[in-house]
């Protein structure tokens, strides 16, 4: 039985925007940051508050990469898969991370410790290949450093 979701933060966010469809994506952005994902109850509340059909809210929430309908891990590992990072071996890093964490890109470990994502260009191409763990950047990462990086974080 999942815990009941506190809708107070959602109400606070909804108060900041006009109550119509043009606010939908902005509202969902703020909710994603606050709740770390988009709970069902929150989506239903958004639908009622903005007078947007729930089907539409769901469609938008599943179309854009910014939103997740399942909670993210405590730490989010982002592998930059921009072109410059790719030609400097980013896919080898992703393979190694998937192997070590035993999840695929886009998933979260069962102990909710890590989420693994790919991201397109963080603008640090001089440091390619780049991995971000939350707000920390790791530059010129090679596959052998991956384990050390994870150990350092655990």
């Amino acid at each position: 039985m999942s815990p009941k979701i506190d809708l107070k933060p959602a109400e606070k966010i909804l108060e900041c925007y006009p109550r119509d469809m043009t606010s939908l994506i902005q509202v969902l952005q703020d909710l994603q940051l606050t709740y770390n994902y988009l709970p069902r109850e929150v989506l239903k509340r958004v639908s009622a508050a903005l007078s947007v059909p729930l089907s539409k809210v769901y469609s938008v929430a599943t179309f854009y990469k910014a939103f997740s309908l399942t909670p993210k891990g405590k730490k989010v590992i982002r592998v930059c898969t921009g072109t410059a990072c790719h030609i400097r071996g980013a896919n080898l890093l992703m393979d190694e991370l998937e192997r070590q964490l035993k999840i695929m890109a886009g998933e979260t470990t069962s102990d909710m410790k890590y989420s693994l994502e790919s991201v397109n260009c963080v603008g640090a191409c001089a440091m390619a290949p780049v991995i971000m763990v939350d707000e920390t950047y790791y530059s010129n990462v090679q596959p052998d450093r991956v384990k050390k990086m994870l150990d350092g974080k655990q």
């Binding site: 059909p53 729930l54 089907s55 599943t62 179309f63």
Partner: protein
Amino acid sequence: MVTLKIDGKIIQAREGTMVLEAARQMNINIPAICHHEAVEPWGGCRLCLVEITHDDWGGWSGLVTSCLYPVEEGLIVTTASPKVIETRKTIIDLLLARYPGSPRIQELAREYGIEKTSYVPDVGRDNCILCGLCVRLCAGMGMAAISTAGRGAAKEISTPLQEAPEDCIGCGVCHKNCPTMNIPMQDKNGVRTIWNRKFELIRCSACGKAHITREHAEYLCEHQDLPPEYFETCDQCKRLENADRFAAIVKW
């Protein structure tokens, strides 16, 4: 009125008419799976592509979806040029790979001489061809109970949060218009089952047929200002009633 040429024949059409409609007026058959007169054209299936050019365009020609391209004075349209046929065949080939089991696609493929797909077929997926008609018609009805979910090749038609849709009124418009009959609907013992929801059907007081869901009836009464007992009789019986009444007035 606007004068244009389609496949060599000169026709006149009202401004604002789409090339697809104008062609159909001339009995020229252009396939268009995602098209429906009741809703705005969408341009998703791309089967209705035609080649257009114009004397003022310096020899330039291109492919456009005829469902969305408005007629223009002096437009020259070719509905089955080599470029159109090549592109259309590829689209059908791709659809066949995606939905190998769909009878409608198989029929189209046969029409264009395609026996089986030259691409890697998808396995284990249903017959949804993502024409979007169900979603657009539902939204057009005013319910918007279903929508697309996701994007790219993983895009699919879904109910909100993958739960039984609360906004559905069981009208069955999606089921009736799906080109590949991919939306199941069952009417049994006065109950309609669709999208995992069950609806009670009103039985006609005259013939006893279960003909419309209570929710659909309520919706129509509210939006079309009809008396609440309007749907106590089914369409057929209403027609018979009106015919009797008319006959009584005219006294044949």
